[in-house]
Symmetry: C2
Subunit: 296 residues, 2 copies
């Protein structure tokens, strides 16, 4: 298996599906649908949809079974980026090298485009019921998983904690809380959602949840490292922006070398979480290792 | 049946349930949960939860069957108010006579509290599955109904259309579109959600949907009339604020007397939609008629 091909094939598939599950720009009110599409199609690695699909594949089911839910997780991720970029939040003009939603469509439409994407996510999860082989019980459970991962006990809680921590002395426990919630919770939910729709057993779901937690931490640590080392044109955002905003990061707290070692450790734990899985979990194993060599 | 007692009994019940389905203020991050609770408990008539319950009752089921979903619709309504009040939107300092969420907790937290309430709504709809007698298929369908009613083809779409219409010449068709979507869509979804959870047949759901459409228009027309006639201390917002913002309203387009007649007409149609329902739909019939005498 070659990870690059695996990823690009799935990114292409997801981009087509995202298009199917979004209202057309010609639909009224046009500006809303343009704003939603602007941000969904402004690039992105589609990691969360890939995790949903890989979650289903790792327990032996086809990725086609979970495509709507895979899209839903990208909608949730995109809504969070739109709201994060708002002037009242991070006040970012650029995201992935392109103007942010509110820079193009204004703040009010950007807020509502985010709201609409979040809402659409749950509509699309419900639409997964129309895929043969998916049970209503699994769909209802996935609604709950997605909501918990993205709501006040998950992503939004992490975002608030992150804001609250700004300007205060860096605190290691708090930084781990923030990362586990702001980034990790949605990764975990994506993996579990794919597995649940695929009819996975409790122990399999629990193992994927563990994988997601370690994957999330490794992702965040390597993201922090890239922020220090990376190049502006690759990252699409000003390098060192976290430092400028005085946020607690792994390199700031532990130094670059120690941070890299921590990333390796979390990758190893992520891979180990899947020790009872067959070769079908190989993409997840490779995806975790890939974090250590990522350049974007 | 006395409508006042019916309403106040249900408002009390819903307020207790809303408390149960929200994280406590002592939970981390506290400011987020305080902000969510601030807006949920800043008053409100709990009309949407009452419509969910009445939808279930009108087809012969107990209101206890749908309590979580009833709360979910209030969360959706509250999130929409928080975001509507933001400086980038209506920029309101007061709501129901109390400081708006962003005035107390700041814009960033208010945006996220709205996001968290919307997300929580879907989590709580999923939790309705734990009530005996509710099927997973019904829950999955209600997720879709709630998302459609509140998303880009419903409430959010109406809100964007409303913003886009500002400052332009009043257009009657557009005004009806705005009201049907901004207010009506969530009423309809609430009624249908209650009925679907209660196992109603398609024709019953369709009748309640029709009722909700007429109810929504009558609600909006009487709201417009109140805005002209009402007293600031009862309404909790500056009287005539719609006129100030040059929004298309029924009194502005049709005059007060004609607007009142249109409200009567929509109430009659709403009541007529329920002609095949038993006495169990009496609360809904009375609720529609009540709109013509409301003073808040």
């Amino acid at each position: 298996m070659r990870l690059n091909e695996y990823l690009s094939e799935r990114q292409k598939l997801i981009n087509e599906e995202l298009d199917r599950y979004l209202p057309g720009e010609e639909e009224f009110p046009n500006i809303l649908h343009k704003a939603m599409r602007h941000s969904v199609f402004a690039g992105g690695k589609r990691i969360r949809p890939i995790l949903v699909m890989a979650g289903a594949e790792s327990v032996g089911k086809d990725k086609e079974l979970v495509l709507p839910t895979a899209c839903a997780f990208e909608f949730i991720h995109t809504y969070s980026l739109i709201h994060d970029d708002l002037p009242a939040m991070d006040d970012d003009d650029l995201r992935r090298g392109q103007p942010t939603c509110h820079k193009v469509y204004g703040e009010a439409v950007a807020i509502l485009a985010g709201d609409a994407l979040l809402t659409r996510a749950f509509e699309v999860i419900s639409a997964n019921l129309s895929v043969p082989g998916v049970s209503a019980a699994a769909v209802a459970r996935v609604v709950s998983i997605a909501a918990q991962g993205s709501g006040c006990a998950g992503m939004v809680g992490g975002q608030v904690a992150d804001m609250e921590a700004e300007g205060k002395p860096a605190d290691k426990d708090n930084m781990v809380y923030i990362h586990n919630h702001k980034t990790g919770a949605l990764f975990r939910a994506a993996l579990c959602a794919g597995a649940v729709l695929a009819g996975a057993g409790d122990s399999e779901v629990a193992a994927l949840d563990k994988y997601g937690q370690y994957f999330g931490l490794a992702f965040q640590i390597t993201d922090d490292i890239l922020d220090v080392e990376g190049e502006a044109k690759i990252l699409g955002k000003p390098v060192g922006s976290d430092e400028k905003n005085a946020k607690a990061t792994y390199p700031a707290l532990y130094g670059l070398e120690m941070s890299y070692r921590m990333a390796e450790e979390n990758v190893a734990k992520a891979v180990d979480s899947l020790r009872h899985f067959t070769v079908k979990a190989e993409p997840l194993r490779q995806l975790a290792r890939f974090l250590l060599t990522r350049s974007y």
